[in-house]
Amino acid sequence: MGKKLLIHNDKVPGIHTLEVYRQHGGYASVEKALKTMSPEAIVEEVKKSGLRGRGGAGFPTGMKWSFLAKPEGVARYLVCNADESEPGTFKDRYLMEKIPHALVEGMITSSFALGAKTSYIYIRGEYFYVARILEAAIAEAYAAGFLGKNILGTGYDLDLYVQVGAGAYICGEETALLESLEGKRGNPRIKPPFPAIAGLYGCPTVVNNVETIAAVVPIINMGGEEYAKIGIGRSTGTKLISASGHINKPGVYEIELGLPVEEFIYSDEYCGGIWKNKKMKACIPGGSSVPILPTELLLKTAAGEPRLMSYESLSDGGFATGSMLGSGGFIVFDEDTNIAENLYTFTRFYHHESCGQCSPCREGTGWMEKIAHRIVHGHGKASDIDLLWDIQKRIEGNTICPLGDAAAWPVASAIRHFRAEFEAMIPKTELAH
């Protein structure tokens, strides 16, 4: 049984209410941080914890916080990224729905550390009912004196609001999110300047994922050094994994980073093995954007080491033989899965979600969808697989935001590891040419 810090109380009746949440130690981090710590000391604890952004990029949170500009007389903002849209990822929804106060508590402590007086939780529009749950929790926190003016008599003021989006994957990209929060189309901004210098309304801004913010609570409660002892190497702490696809027990699991991948898939504590007594063919371990791996490379690295659920182990071997932990969107496919058909759903997804600013992404995602469509519908040409490869190569690295890379990597990895499956779908008359 691994250590749990975020959703250990998810089954407690009434845990979504402030009363029950407090009975289980809730808001202790706010008391400790606001009454006994300086903002700088909180940032220091987060640095010591080794916490890395849980949205997908894995950037050290403490370092991101320390980049925040602090010009005199200019407002600073903390914006929580609850736009969770990466296919295969639904952990933030679970956390917010079950234990909304965990996010509210983290937002208060983190906002204090960053000197923000107004903070926003930007949540994807489809999660409207979750936004309602968060709003109810926030109202309770105001009534209890954890939000508003002069919080706990410390003189610190904070307002916290929930903002709903309206259906756009790109708004999970932090600058697109800020554009959307300003009432515009979700077009990512050219960087620099980074949000730490010029973010929301041109002011210094930190954008953090839901799970990242929630992890600040145990870090402050136990101290950064203790938190850093959990996990493995530079993958400290626990991580929420969204498990889906052909497994017996889909759902959200909190794991201690470093858990063997094989144990995660086959243990009854987690995924419970492959459904219908089938064998596993492949897995996407970190959300749709990260490379798909065949079973043998998922369970063991190319060097034969057991693969672990950690940032380093999952990316061992680079894209040639590895993948990424990403957002922790863990999608498993059984032996009967047609990898090309699955890829087609991704090409369609990224084409739909491209914001259209950069031509390599806007045009390239459309071409990839079109070509994948004709391959899986039996009208592929002999040259199509190489053409797909060529297009993804021309998108990668040539766009102002990571959506281009995110669209390219699934195509590249599916062809890299499962080329024969694509070839098998090309009509024999075509191959004769």
């Binding site: 296919p87 295969g88 889906s244 759903t345």
Partner: protein, 181 residues
């Protein structure tokens, strides 16, 4: 700007809009645009007509084009009339792997429509959409604010019957979430 005199927000909606506008710094009230468009879509027949968008522009004191360009960007905003119940059926990877295409086909057959179409009685619109963050409970569809998960053809039939019997419009801002059958 066309004249939005024909339609107006209810007092309750206006009060909510004022509350939302107060959440942003002075001069940044355009930030309320997306939340207000959700309210407008719910209040005016489930879609955003040019008149409705002009009304939103006048309430937020911004240009109509600023509303159009945003409304046309986000997939939850409908720029043409839709049925009372819009079925957003997820079809991306995890849902696909657990039979989303069969669910879409089944709904289409039951209702006699294809994705993107509305039944002639104006009751249902079928949409095939991209990942809704419900991968662990696939296949699924969203109708209004409600997520209907772990779908089977039987569950879908029951859902259609219950929505048809209720006959009311479902909007994304509905409060009756999680009424999974």
């Amino acid at each position: 700007m066309s004249n939005p005199v024909n339609i107006k927000f209810s007092d309750a909606s206006l009060a909510l809009i004022q509350n939302i506008m107060s959440r942003y710094p002075e001069g940044k009230q355009k930030s309320a645009l997306i939340p207000v468009l959700h309210i407008a879509q719910a209040d005016f027949d489930g879609w955003l007509s040019p008149q409705t968008m002009d009304l939103v522009a006048s309430v937020l004191k911004i240009q109509s084009v600023e509303v159009y360009e945003v409304a046309s960007f986000y997939s939850m905003f409908h720029l043409a009339p839709v049925g009372n119940c819009v079925f957003d059926v997820c079809r991306t990877s995890s849902c696909w792997s657990r039979g989303a295409d069969n669910i879409i086909a089944h709904i289409g057959k039951r209702l006699g429509i294809k994705p993107g179409e509305t039944t002639s009685d104006g009751m249902f619109t079928l949409k095939a959409v991209e990942c809704l963050g419900s991968c662990g409970t696939a296949p699924m569809l969203q109708c209004g604010a409600s997520f209907h998960e772990n779908l089977t053809p039987e569950k879908v039939d029951a859902l259609i019957d219950s929505y048809r019997a209720a006959g009311t419009r479902r909007s994304y801002t509905d409060m009756d979430y999680k009424n999974t059958l």
